[in-house]
Amino acid sequence: MARFVDLAFSAILLAGLYATMAYGLGLIYGVLRVVNLAHGGVIMAGAYIGWVLHERAGLDPYLSIPIVLVACFAIGIVLYRLLVRHLPRGAAGGPASLLLLFGVWLVLRNAAYLIFTGDDQAIRTSYSTRALPVLGSYVSVNRLAVLGIAMVTPVLLHWLLRRSYVGKAIRAVAQNPDSCTLAGIDVERIYTLTFGIGTALAGLAGLLSATIFAFNPTFGSAELLKAFVVVVLGGLGSIYGMAVAALIVAVVEVFAILVLPSYLTSAVGFVMLVLVLIFRPGGLFGQRVLG
């Protein structure tokens, strides 16, 4: 029973992280129709920015959230203005945008390797090892905080997209960029903003992961693929759909340890990716992501 509760907690926590990783990927895909393969690289970058702030400036990882958000937003803006803007959109740009952003990812990875070497790092705080008793099991304070942030993020994002003027413009551009131009929306600006918000979310996910897991420059590749499963499964219709999908992915992955040898559990995410793409490309809720 205690083991079950343990697993359930880690599944819920993982779901929060996966969902945070997926929002940015889904947002960028939904609006720009570009699969951002550099997403994994930005997740890794977010982790390292948080780590540097903690190691060098002694800043608490939770206090560095705004800095990481702004820094990764800036990375996104630069990437968009410098590179992504020049790519053909939609199906025609498929392989080209994929390869270009893959190149960006390789460069980010290599840069991190040169600056920080390939050693594993982790953000260790004074409360990293503190835990609270919950339902006969212990849950680390840190994990609860991560979960809290992972739950606030979709609410804020939902509000941004539904209620704010910019959010409405983003959704309008996702539906029909040409009409938006006619309505006086600066489509390029919205694209830039969307890309920035997407990468900022990736950075946040990276920072949150870094408080729990060890990471190195290759961090982010498995995460990117899982985020992609979540996006496909959850569809682009709603933020909350993605959250549900993230929970499903996390539960399958965590509970796989009960039936699979531990070495193979890391393959579960990859197998799920392939199965979802083959059998459920339309997502769980019928809002097709795939064209």
């Binding site: 390869l99 390789l106 460069v107 290599n110 197998v271 392939v274 793409l277 083959i278």
Partner: protein, 318 residues
């Protein structure tokens, strides 16, 4: 990445005579000159790389399905061949061919993925590649797990692999040209340009993609087997590694996706780069490949081949 017909024709038919001369020259090179074993081995590896890249290109260039998972087939070809040499004492060439057949059959497993297009196919192949790496590393009785398999060291065979490599490389190049010129090549182009329109004119995307994926997988598997004999030691983390898949993609993209000359050009450049520049700065290779990729996609989608064509046009205009 569409090309004017004249360019296509020029790329699809590099003068056969020139090709024959190059192959013949390479074949007598080690005999005519006292080649160091370093350059001998380097050329052998280059031939294998070019062969793999040409085969990847049938899928990634001709059909336009960019695979990030071909390492799985390279690994299967390699391990099946190695097992046959070790357990059944098969002569290596026979083992390579059997490995190739095995890889070809396994490639058919990609069938349900082939209706995915563009980025979805590519991302699914990342999943397949990584899942098979973990699976085959776990399957110790077959692959030896993390400690890998050692084959009997055979220096004569390693020396001969130069000509075996040159042979399969030339065959792959001829096959590429033959596919491009045949109606099959046109049908693949049609699928690449527009699957639905291809279907409307009677080109079955399902059948032709299956066909090409098997051909491509078998040849990549063949190079896997030859690679196993060349190194006498293989381990699944390397054979099935993501880096191997990326290397195939990069070779073709840098040389020129969808052309015949491109993969060969790309492989030669990458091998030269790796041996000369990156031997002194090994920590830079990923970033350098990334930068090359970015520049090529932004400025010259046809890679080095496109660059050559551009230079050719300039020269002609003078």
């Amino acid at each position: 990445m569409t090309l004017p017909t004249a360019t296509l024709r020029a790329l699809a038919r590099p003068a056969p005579a020139a090709f024959a001369v190059v192959v013949a020259a390479l074949a007598i090179l080690p005999v005519a000159f006292d080649m160091s074993s370093y350059s001998h081995n380097l050329l052998t590896l280059t031939f294998l790389t070019v062969t793999g890249a040409l085969a990847w290109n049938w899928m990634g260039g001709f059909v336009g399905q960019v695979s990030f998972g071909h390492a799985a087939l390279f690994g299967i070809g390699g391990f099946v061949a190695a097992r046959l040499v070790l357990d059944a004492h098969l002569p290596p060439p026979l083992a390579w061919v059997t490995g190739a057949v095995a890889a070809g059959i396994v490639s058919l497993g990609a069938h349900p993925m082939l209706r995915l297009r563009g980025p979805y196919f590519s991302i699914a192949t990342i999943g397949v590649g990584e899942a098979s790496r973990l699976l085959f590393t776990y399957w110790e009785s077959f692959t030896g797990g993390a400690s890998g398999l050692s084959l009997p060291i055979d220096t004569d065979l390693k020396h001969q692999l130069y000509w075996w490599g040159l042979g399969v490389c030339a065959a792959a190049a001829v096959a590429s040209v033959a596919i491009r010129r045949s109606s099959l090549g046109l049908q693949l182009l049609a699928i690449k340009a527009d699957v639905e329109a291809a279907g409307d004119v009677g080109v079955s995307a399902t059948f032709y993609q299956d066909l090409v994926v098997v051909m491509s997988g078998a040849v990549v598997g063949l190079t896997g087997g030859m690679y196993a004999s060349y190194f006498s030691f293989i381990e699944p983390q390397d054979m099935f590694g993501f880096d191997r898949s990326i290397a195939l993609v990069l070779t073709c993209v840098i040389g020129g996706v969808g052309t015949v000359l491109g993969p060969a050009l790309g492989a030669v450049v990458l091998v030269l780069l790796r041996e000369n520049l990156l031997a002194s700065y090994p920590q830079l290779y990923l970033g350098l490949y990334g930068l090359l990729l970015i520049f090529i996609i932004l400025f010259e989608p046809l890679g080095l081949t496109g660059l050559l064509l551009r230079v050719g046009r300039l020269v002609r205009r003078r």
